[in-house]
Symmetry: C2
Subunit: 359 residues, 2 copies
Amino acid sequence: ASKKLQAQRWRERATAADKQVQNKKSEISAIKTKQTMPRPVLLIHGGAGDIGDSRVAGKFKGIKDALRAAWPQLAAGKSNAMDAVETAVRSMELDEAFNAGYGACLNTAGEVELEASFMEGHELRAGCITLLRDIMHPITVARRLLEQRRHVFLGGEAALKLALSTCSEQLAPGSLVTPSAQQALAEFKQQQAKGADTTYARTELDALRTDPSGDTVGAVALDMQGLIAVGTSTGGITGKWPGRIGDTPVLGSGTYADNLMGGVSTTGHGETLMRYNLAQRILAAMQHQQLSAQAAAEQECQRMTARLGGTGGAIVVDPQGELGISFTSRRMAWGYVSDGVIHYGINQQEMLQEPFDLA
Amino acid sequence: ASKKLQAQRWRERATAADKQVQNKKSEISAIKTKQTMPRPVLLIHGGAGDIGDSRVAGKFKGIKDALRAAWPQLAAGKSNAMDAVETAVRSMELDEAFNAGYGACLNTAGEVELEASFMEGHELRAGCITLLRDIMHPITVARRLLEQRRHVFLGGEAALKLALSTCSEQLAPGSLVTPSAQQALAEFKQQQAKGADTTYARTELDALRTDPSGDTVGAVALDMQGLIAVGTSTGGITGKWPGRIGDTPVLGSGTYADNLMGGVSTTGHGETLMRYNLAQRILAAMQHQQLSAQAAAEQECQRMTARLGGTGGAIVVDPQGELGISFTSRRMAWGYVSDGVIHYGINQQEMLQEPFDLA
């Protein structure tokens, strides 16, 4: 009985504390939105790094394709935040312009090992997958894990088993390997043989022609019911050791969603993002310092790079649908749709716009 | 050049911001410690959960043994925070009273899959290991990974390869399995066959006689140079799926160290700790709300359990050496030494004391 009483006391204390936060947020929200209904938001990224000029057009096409696949349903209230995130990420996993699914980076053995995570901000359910091979859509496997409510994080054979038991098809070995990824690995190995510093793998090596490293994909969505969902999917970094796990499947580093705080998906040098806990640090700056999503993303990306050297970026949505987009890498591909206009970019301080159409 | 300038600008901004934090901390420190030198601290835990009465004595003995092994060197300034953490955790990995190394929980296949993480708060270097088999001291493998400065997180075969290449010995399969862990798995399977809710595995099943679940081990240390180090090691939870990854190797959930914020090691229901990002939320409450280590640990453990249902606990050290110890599980074993007295406990509101001697 005393255990029950104690649990009751915790619940009351915690509820009171959360209500205070919630009241404050509601106040801010009321001022910001002048009492209008929450508008759905879908913000996506296609990876951060030293992306070569020749690859920019492919990134832009892939970003637009993903928004075309996922946005109209969400905007019309016909799909929720989780559906929008899954649809957008699946579109980019199929696209060889991105380092996820088909076109993923290769490890030193020339193989693809995939990672993904999925989180929703109402109950904080999550699914994280690592060291998965020969599956086209790791983001869907992560969502299936989230829905099972048993474990949060699965690796290797266990992730494959879950994929196969939830209707993913196992591809023939090597199906996800592209010539471009093979070329990147060959260049990486040449650099390493010459004694170049490959600490950041391919995220910041200016001399290289192609750089699929760090071009992780991610999506953050807010729906009309106020649900925030986040998904991230990656092939890691070129020349990683087999068995290396990056930030993407790590909650609080690659992905985090909490309806009370906001949602974040990150990309860049995984080891740096993990050591800094970039996603959770951005949300803490929003929650405790009352920074906007944009200011918090800028502050924390910059502090991370100043302190650790490695670069990266983040996309952020707060509970009122305000956006944050920031990166310390040379480039990060991103995009969203607002009022029938698609906003996108890849360079610092750049925002391109054009009418959003489904053609 | 403009890239360099921008990097320079970030560095200045970040340095200025961090200095502000540091100045504030120094002020508080000066008030608190009246300008005395920082005293070393070593705070350890031996797991949280519904630990049976018959297992309390073994836990206390294990906690004292670990402090005897690690504390005198640290207190005398003959070892640093990283050495103290490694020594304390290794002592508990050898002890079958804890769910780490020998005596670890078994997965549904009756096998041991080990996890560990190690982090230091000066450069934020870290090493995390998961799905490791047949190695006695995962904490040492994690430290070796940290020292290599290449990757932060390795799983499965890659973790084993690193262990063997850094002088760990591979044990015969089954060497780490104890009769007590086998009994716990058998009971878990009986409960599951009866249709009992095994969501929290063995952390909260009152009816069971033994509960090695969640009895993860961890250590947080601060040395005379102001370095904070944290290490955590576990066998996960009884009846986990093979391939399940818990919070222990996840930075920001199971382990985090930052000299500017503090150090945290957590234990309890891994899925809950990961979804909540317990370690990083505690540090954020200290950094942004100016809560003490104790108040922050209490607030965040209680909010986590109120929101998600699962229980857990944390040990915390702030940059001035102030301690935080809190848990929402029924019991959590913990201990530290101060002024020649060993302080330890396992029940809520309990602090036992006795002279610290090396016998």
